[in-house]
């Protein structure tokens, strides 16, 4: 199985550690990961903000770049949602029949990281050790978009030394919503304030999610309040072997 990592432009630029963690976990499980250099962005920001024609070259690039792989793994649920739901829409609206076909071919081979581990590889224990108190925030795209269900929890429960605590009102949106946080900054901020309070109430030292954008948003609010709670992407917890390999 040829596995490609789609790092996503946001993680590439801001959170390279998450990409390295995905590579670490997959290699620990005995797989080889490739990183096609031509990859850039799924076009989600443009699509969600209404700039559809601008996103079309990105759809083409994605289909072209990942055409030859058996599996494309990405640590971003919202980008997977864009590829599954948005790419066909754009291909149908603006693309050629060939693009529609290529988009339809690649989409089923794209897997969010926890989907890939649990559904494709069939593993939940990836040999991680992370002795910390962790709350998991199911981001909207994980929960209602991809319907990841308990996949992240199954993976987390198998981590040695971890103490999982409940996050109150976990299914509420953190208020990020991409450009929503800029266009409606105050409303977004009101939602963020409630989410940050829930994180503090949970007593966690680490906030975990499968998507760095929401983590950056919640973490940005917590950081401004001077809270020591830190956000860590799920992949980085699964890559961790604190205190030595198991």
């Amino acid at each position: 199985m040829r596995i490609a990592l789609f790092i996503t432009c946001f993680n590439d630029t801001m959170f390279p550690g998450t990409g390295r963690a995905v590579v670490t976990v997959l290699e620990r499980l005995g797989h080889t990961v490739e990183f096609p250099q031509e990859q850039t962005c799924c076009g989600q920001m443009h699509f969600n903000t209404g700039y559809r024609p601008e996103a079309v070259p990105l759809v083409e690039r994605f289909a072209r770049t990942f055409a030859e792989y058996d599996a494309v793994v990405t640590p971003s649920p919202s980008c997977v949602g864009m590829i599954r739901d948005g790419h066909p829409v754009l291909a149908a609206q603006y693309g050629s029949p060939a693009l529609q076909r290529r988009t339809a071919e690649v989409a089923p081979r794209v897997h969010e990281f926890t989907e890939f581990l649990t559904d494709v590889l069939g593993v939940t224990d990836v040999g991680a050790r992370f002795p910390h108190k962790v709350a998991y925030h199911p981001t909207c795209h994980s929960l209602r978009g991809l319907r990841l269900g308990d996949r992240p929890h199954r993976l987390l429960r198998a981590v040695e030394g971890i103490e999982l605590v409940d996050l109150p009102a976990a299914d509420s949106c953190c208020g990020f919503g991409g450009t929503f946080a800029l266009k409606n900054a105050e409303t977004s901020g009101a939602m963020l304030a409630d989410k940050a309070r829930a994180v503090l109430d949970s007593g966690a030292e680490v906030l975990c999610a499968a998507d760095n954008s929401c983590l950056m948003h919640i973490g940005g609010g917590l950081s401004r309040q001077g809270s020591p709670v830190r956000g860590v992407h799920l992949a980085e917890i699964l890559a961790a072997v604190e205190g030595g390999a198991r």
């Binding site: 590439d12 630029t13 801001m14 959170f15 390279p16 550690g17 998450t18 990409g19 390295r20 963690a21 670490t24 290699e27 620990r28 080889t32 990183f35 850039t40 962005c41 076009g43 969600n48 903000t49 209404g50 700039y51 559809r52 601008e54 070259p57 990105l58 739901d85 992370f130 909207c140 209602r144 978009g145 299914d171 509420s172 949106c173 990020f176 919503g177 929503f180 800029l182 409606n184 900054a185 409303t187 901020g189 009101a190 939602m191 963020l192 760095n212 950056m216 973490g219 940005g220 950081s223 401004r224 020591p228 709670v229 830190r230 992407h233 980085e236 917890i237 890559a239 072997v241 604190e242």
Partner: protein
């Protein structure tokens, strides 16, 4: 054409500005949080006790889809059945025409008062204001609508129009205003719900007994028999549709269901989704006129008002499937914070954000499709499975396109988006931009965090820190460690250990 449609409150600010104002009202936010939270929990409880809830939702969506596709046929069938049962059907292409029809019908009775059943369609067309202009007083009889009317206020929720008011505010309002409209509030009125309901009951009873004309909306009209259906909780609607001599119903054309079997599906979904009850207390159905029973005259006004335009949009038309249950409002994290008034429309919340721009044209409600994080809670709650996030992004594209075709100069956002698209379509430019962002970001960062950001980003940075970008992007790390082919060092680095988070709070300011 659109000025004849109503729907939006003229002069309303764009959503972000209205929301900013609403967010400052701490009383409003407390009222909303309590009210939406209560309904949300009740809805979840009663929806989850049905094994076939998902099948019901699928059936409802399918019925609505099929009916919309053949709406022309079903509407003619409604007209035929209602006429055969002794009613009169009127067709109104927009709000102005509907108002004219209703006003003339009331005038013909010689009456100067009407009682009203809670109705979104008549709010949409601004009927009460129009009637007032013609010297006719409309009395709202739904408790929450009465509260809105007495307060000279606007509804902020589809089902609970006065959700922004708490008991104490309602008590004060009743005490201060009921006397001007009729039966005054009793002396020493308290804010106990039962006491408030009793005051409203006494106030309204007088109106029901006097009224000769009633105006209602409709939840459904069954095409096969011409039966109109109103679903309610209080029984005031039942009084309105039975006691007066003339009944005028204003109904959006999308409310048609083909058969009683279809209706059954919606009567299961609606009360559970709306109030979290297994069944609503009053479901009134009537078919034309019945000699010696109920109104002697029945008129049905079929309202288009932008609906056929909406129907022409294959993505947007699903908004017409809405049965006005309000479940999407109650689960919406944006609505919970801002309340309904911020949407500037009789249709607030997620459904309002997709329906309003379609009814009045996206250029007249351009901020509404952006009033959402696309969190998807509305889609999950919707009993007729309207994919509201899908319609929102669809309408966002229409807003941007309308801006492009209408203006010569691109907006600042348009310029940024175009530039970003060019960078993102080139790995080389992206790498250069990452380098620049890293250098720039790290130059202004303090302890690994960026506090203040300029221009349009300041709204973000007012309450959030931003992590400084790392020194090395993933792609440059890969090139340095794995080579362009990516296989050279694979396996050698398997001992990667601790998480290398660039999130906040750890190893501040270090290059990782």
């Amino acid at each position: 054409m659109n000025e004849n449609r109503g729907v939006v409150w003229l002069g309303s600010p764009a959503f972000p500005d209205a929301a900013r104002r609403a967010l400052k009202d701490t009383q409003l936010r407390a009222n909303l949080k309590r009210a939406t939270g209560t309904i949300r929990d009740k809805r979840l409880a009663v929806a989850s006790e049905l094994d076939d809830w998902e099948a019901l939702r699928d059936a409802a969506a399918a019925i609505k889809k099929r009916t919309a596709r053949h709406l022309d046929r079903y509407l003619v069938q409604v007209e035929r059945s209602v006429t055969a049962a002794g009613g009169t059907v009127h067709w109104a292409s927009d709000a102005a025409e509907a108002n004219r029809i209703v006003t003339e019908l009331v005038r013909a009775t010689g009456e100067r008062e009407v009682v009203k059943v809670k109705s979104m369609a008549t709010q949409e067309i601004g009927l009460n204001e129009h009637l007032a202009g013609a010297g006719i007083t409309a009395y709202e009889t739904d408790l929450a609508e009465l509260i809105v009317q007495l307060g000279d206020d606007r509804p902020s929720h589809i089902l609970v129009p006065a959700i922004h008011r708490n008991r104490r505010e309602i008590r004060d309002l009743f005490a201060a205003t009921m006397a001007q409209w009729g039966q005054p509030a009793p002396d020493g009125l308290g804010d106990d719900p039962a006491e408030l309901a009793e005051a409203a009951r006494r106030h309204l009873r007088e109106k029901f007994l006097r009224a000769k004309v009633a105006v209602s909306g409709a939840n459904f009209a069954v095409a096969e028999t011409g039966t109109v259906v109103v679903v309610e909780s209080e029984g005031n609607g039942r009084m309105c549709v039975t006691l007066p001599e003339t009944l005028i119903t204003v109904m959006g054309i999308e409310k048609v269901v083909p058969t009683w079997t279809d209706l059954e599906v919606f009567l299961q979904l609606l009360p559970r989704s709306a109030t979290g009850e297994r069944m609503n207390p009053y479901t009134s159905t009537w078919t034309g006129r019945t000699e010696g029973d109920g109104p002697r005259d029945f008129h049905l006004v079929l309202l288009d008002n932008g609906r056929t335009d909406t129907l022409a949009d294959t993505v947007g038309r699903q908004a017409l499937a809405c049965i006005r249950c309000s479940a999407c409002l109650n689960v919406c994290p944006v609505f919970e914070r801002t309340g309904g008034h911020a949407y500037g429309s009789v249709y607030p919340g997620p459904i309002g954000a997709v329906l309003t721009p379609q009814l009045v044209g996206v250029e007249n409600a351009a901020s509404l499709p952006f009033a959402s994080t696309l969190c998807g809670a509305c889609y999950d709650a919707c009993p007729v499975k309207i994919d509201i996030p899908e319609v929102l992004t669809h309408l966002r594209a229409e807003v941007v396109e309308a801006g492009r075709s209408g203006k010569r100069l691109p907006t600042a956002e348009g310029v940024v988006m175009k530039a970003a698209a060019a960078v993102l379509d080139s790995p080389r430019l992206l790498a250069a931009a990452q380098k620049a962002a890293s250098l720039g970001g790290r130059a202004i960062a303090r302890g690994g965090r960026i506090g203040w950001l300029p221009g349009p980003l300041h709204g973000w940075s007012d309450t959030r820190d931003t992590p400084a970008p790392p020194a090395q992007s993933f792609r440059s790390w890969w090139r340095a460690n794995r080579g362009p082919e990516g296989k050279e060092r694979a396996g050698k680095e398997r001992a990667n250990t601790a998480p290398e988070s660039k999130q906040f709070g750890e190893n501040e300011g270090e290059d990782r």
